[in-house]
């Protein structure tokens, strides 16, 4: 059983949970940074590290609105990210027989 077929950008526990969580949001919705952090139980630094990687790959999009203490960062899964997750789960199915 080899994991080479699995997208390394998603095949890491924290990023996999991030992508799956965002994929369960209703279509067209964004999730705030603090809520995502609370749901995943990650530190802000850890979360932003993974978010940057996913954003560079085009899997998530972040948007910052407001200034200072009123600033708000929201995260959403892009169509590219959704397709990547679908391809990842398909590859997992192939590896395991059935997910």
């Amino acid at each position: 059983m080899t994991t080479d077929a699995l997208d390394p950008m998603i095949h890491a526990p924290a990023r996999l949970r991030m992508v799956v969580t965002l994929a369960n949001l209703p279509d067209g919705d964004q999730l705030s940074f603090p809520r995502l952090q609370e749901m995943l139980g990650l530190t802000p630094g850890n979360l932003i590290t993974h978010l940057r990687k996913l954003e560079e790959a085009g899997y998530v999009a972040t948007e910052k609105t407001g200034h200072g203490i009123w600033s708000r960062t929201t995260v959403t899964l892009t169509d590219h990210g959704r397709a990547a997750l679908a391809a990842y789960t398909a590859a997992l199915r192939d590896l395991l027989g059935e997910l």
């Binding site: 699995l6 526990p13 919705d29 630094g45 932003i48 395991l96």
Partner: protein, 218 residues
């Protein structure tokens, strides 16, 4: 207010080895957790709603039982109903605020539009009740039959349309069942309608809560 990410705190990237079976388990577990946290309904809330429904209709039925001619619920019964309604509104608001915290976008806007549509149906239903009394319809029909079931037929029909457009089949069936109970209960007359609505609605909500529990266990 939304806390800004701490960009200085760059923790270890989580690059640990992940076996395919572990990944599959993680996907299932995360999906279940996310669905539960994003869902706007919960079996416990439905169960509480069923109990509140029975308490409200039961209280009024107890206060009007045996009335002939129908004179309507007593002040103490209306007071109990008012207190229960306040608890329901506050409890539901807290629950919804928690579930939708941090979520923005299309579903929030859609929720506001649906809320406006349901509120319009609700206000129109009660205005119509006032018009019926003004036009001389009997006290028992207006403050008995219509007050107990008429509003639910109007508001429920709007809610059925919402569930249909969202292709939300469980809620579609639930709302159709409640509207059917309201329509059927109307035949029970100004006193019996409260009992029929109370027991019928309670039973339907219990079945729906059981369905929600079954979904969670799958």
């Amino acid at each position: 207010m939304n806390q800004a990410p701490d960009t200085n705190e760059i923790a270890d990237a989580d690059e640990g080895e992940l076996a395919p079976a572990q990944a599959a388990r993680l996907i299932k577990q995360t999906t279940r957790q996310a669905k539960r946290q994003f869902q706007l309904q919960s079996p416990w809330v439905t169960l509480l709603g069923a109990a509140a429904w029975l308490a409200i209709y039961g209280t009024i039925w107890l206060s009007v039982r045996g009335q002939n001619p129908y004179t309507g619920p007593t002040v103490w019964a209306l007071l109990v109903v008012f207190v229960l309604l306040v608890f329901i509104v506050i409890g539901n608001s807290v629950f919804l605020r928690r579930r939708t915290a941090g979520i923005s976008g299309r579903s929030r806007r859609q929720g506001a539009y649906i809320g406006a549509a349901i509120a319009t149906a609700f206000v129109a239903a009660y205005l119509f009740m006032g018009a019926l009394r003004y036009l001389g319809v009997s006290y028992g029909v207006v403050y008995g039959v219509y007050a107990a079931s008429g509003w639910l037929i109007v508001v429920g029909a709007a809610a059925v349309a919402v569930a249909a457009t969202q292709q939300d089949l469980p809620n579609l069936y639930l709302r159709i069942a409640l509207v059917a109970i309201a329509a059927g209960s109307s035949f029970a007359g100004p006193v019996g309608v409260w009992l029929s609505m109370g027991v019928g609605g309670f039973a339907v909500l219990l079945v729906f809560a059981a369905y929600q529990v079954r979904l969670r266990l799958q």
